[in-house]
């Protein structure tokens, strides 16, 4: 696997990172395969054809940052960080082991609501 020093990722409203969309086979390329890059066809977000680093390649990096700013990201952040696994399927972003989220207060609002409830 490649050894990147730092990987910067965004996260989509569906929990995708890079071009690894939930439900597509590209997410499930096992790290043990040694495959660094995967072709993606049928991306729900156009354009449909893409290539992407695999999860294995991403998580082999020394540091990973997932950056999400704005209230619009609140929903996916709550899903990814609080409701892990509850929805039945694991989101791609939840599989990025050791990632550090960098979010702003607006994006973190959903997090606080849940915390108060608990």
């Amino acid at each position: 696997m490649p050894l990147f020093d730092l990987v910067l990722l965004g996260v989509g409203p569906d929990g995708h990172v890079a071009s690894l969309f939930p439900g597509l086979p590209a997410v499930d390329v096992p790290a043990s395969s040694g495959q660094w890059v995967v072709g993606v066809e049928g991306s729900p977000k156009p354009p449909p054809l893409r290539i992407s680093l695999t999860l294995g390649a991403i998580t082999s990096a020394k540091e990973i940052l997932v950056v999400a700013f704005g209230a619009g990201k609140g929903d996916i952040i709550r899903q990814a960080l609080l409701l892990g696994g509850k929805a039945g399927s694991v989101l791609p972003v939840q599989r990025v082991a050791g990632a550090r989220w960098l979010i702003d207060a607006a994006a973190a609002a959903g997090l606080e609501e849940e915390e108060k409830k608990e």
Binding site: L9, V67, G84, E115
Partner: protein
């Protein structure tokens, strides 16, 4: 510098001007130390995930958590506070900045810190970028800062772009001049780091070529392509030699009507086969 496999030496040899990757002024080519080190295996032995034997999932998680913890002491940042919920998966941590502008500063701080560490350890810094607003935030966060940033407790050495190597986390398979590509979206950032001597490699793959390849191999949805020619091996090397060969990026002198009808006038390039890198 030993010759690198693939298209790397041709990166700056394009004939026609490209708005995304303007032809750089002549200057000594930056040495891709990390690439050489990767290829020679020197780097591999130094890195945790490359140690001999398979790392167990548990060990990997532990390492991730340790790494995350090491880089996430709440007091270490003037811009963001640690707010990791107990439910965060797989050792993930959460830093919250009060607003996007401050968040961008934190982003810049973290990137510069990672760069400083990597450069002091190995002499180069490999950065993976996604497209979109993130890159713009990064460009602005690296702006107007030559070291001592506001209250940062770490001493950042002067920014040395020649030691940075940026890669795409993903790319859309669109024609080279399409505005949909990450590379096009990151124009400002690329111009900036290029000016500072960095290399940003763009992957350009013909859609037509991709389809042709897929039908040849019946590997639909399982296609693996070279991402960067000399650094990331395809999982199907040798299966299709043309995929490993560079081809001209802008065949301006070719007659477009010759050859097969490709998508968006791409036939001449597609006919030559293989991804192009520029």
């Amino acid at each position: 510098m030993p010759p690198l496999r693939g298209a790397l030496p041709r990166l700056h040899a394009a004939r026609a001007p490209n708005p995304v990757f303007p032809r750089p002024r002549p200057r000594p080519r930056p040495r891709l130390k990390n690439v050489e080190a990767l290829r020679s295996g020197v780097l591999l032995n130094q890195l945790p995930s490359q140690r001999q034997g398979k790392e167990t999932t548990k060990a990997k998680q532990r390492r991730s958590i340790t790494m995350a913890a090491a880089s996430t002491s709440p007091s270490s940042s003037p811009f963001a506070v640690d707010r990791t919920p107990a439910t965060a998966p797989l050792g993930q941590t959460v830093s919250v900045a009060p607003d996007p502008a401050t968040g961008a500063k934190e982003l810049g701080r973290l990137v510069k810190r990672a760069a400083a560490r990597a450069i002091s350890e190995r002499g180069s810094f490999t950065l993976v970028l996604s497209g979109g607003s993130l890159v713009d935030a990064l460009a602005s966060s690296l702006d107007g800062d030559d070291g001592g940033d506001d209250g940062d407790d770490e001493t950042s050495p002067p920014h040395d772009g020649s030691k940075w190597h940026a890669f795409w986390a993903d790319e859309r398979l669109v024609p080279g001049d399409s505005l949909d590509s990450n590379a096009a979206g990151a124009r400002a950032f690329i111009a900036k780091v290029r000016k500072e001597g960095s290399e940003v490699l763009k992957v350009e793959v013909e859609v037509e070529r991709l389809r042709e390849f897929e039908s040849e191999h019946g590997r639909r949805k399982k296609l693996t392509l070279f991402f960067l020619p000399s650094t990331i091996p395809s999982t199907i090397p040798g299966r299709h030699p043309r995929l490993q060969r560079p081809r001209p990026r802008r065949p301006a002198r070719r007659v477009p009507s010759r050859g097969r009808q490709g998508v968006r006038g791409a036939a001449p390039r597609a006919a030559q086969g293989g991804p192009a890198y520029c």
